[in-house]
Subunit: 107 residues, 2 copies
Amino acid sequence: MGSTLGEFEQLVLLALVRLGDDAYGVTVRRELEKRAARSVSLATVYTTLARLEAKGLVDTRVGEPTPQRGGRRKKHYVIVPAGRRALRDTLRTLRRMTSGLDAVWDA
Amino acid sequence: MGSTLGEFEQLVLLALVRLGDDAYGVTVRRELEKRAARSVSLATVYTTLARLEAKGLVDTRVGEPTPQRGGRRKKHYVIVPAGRRALRDTLRTLRRMTSGLDAVWDA
DNA sequence: CGATATCTTCGACATTGTCGACTATTTGGG
DNA sequence: CCCAAATAGTCGACAATGTCGAAGATATCG
C-alpha cells in the first residue's frame, strides 16, 4: 500500500491538526502562509484536501450558514486515525534520517 | 525560483549528508532502506539524484575503478551549499508546523 | 576474449503540486 | 422580490516528483 505523504500533503495535514475544529479551505491556507511561510492559492489547498479525503486520511462535514455577510457554506476537514498514522510515520522517518545531524539546520 | 524539495528528495539529500564521501547510488539506497525503512529501486534513487544535480543542489565526481571484482565506476554525489540551504529551509518549515504538537507522534 | 559482477542511464507512466477561471451559496439593500 | 457583493468550493490543465523494469557501460578474472 502506498502510504507515503507528499511534501505539501504533510503540511496540510499538520495545519488540520493545529486548526482543530475551525479547519476549512481559507483557514488552512492562512495557517500555511503564517506558520509555514508558504504562499499557495486556495485552489491548491482544495485540491490537496480533496485528494487526502479520497485517500481516506481526512473526513469532511459541511457546516451551517454563519451569521456573517453572506457566502457559501464551509466544508470542514478533520484528520482521521489513518491520516494521523500516516503523518506520524512520515515524520518519524524524517526524524530518523535527521537524528544527529544538527549541522544541517544551523545558522 | 521554486525551492521546495519533494518528500523523497529530502530523504535522499539527508542520506547524502549522512554518507559523506562514500555516497553513490548503492550506498544511498542502502541508507534509505536501513534508516528510513523505505525500499526503493536503484533506478528511483538515480532519477532523483539526477534531478537534484540538474537543480544544482548536488555535485558529482566519477571515481576511479576499485580493486573489487569488476564493475563500472561509481559516481559520487555531494550536497552543495544551495542544497544544504534548501534542505535546511524545508526542515525548518516542518519544525515550525510541528512545534507543540507532540500528540502527533505519540503512541 | 567472454562470462560475470557492478553501476548508471533510458523511456514510461502514476502521483503530487499548482493554478486560473468558473460555479455555487448566502445575506443585506433597494 | 431580485440582485449585487461577499464567501467558499469545484473544474480542467499542466508541470514537477515519485517509481520502475529493461537496457547500456565498465571492470576484473580466468
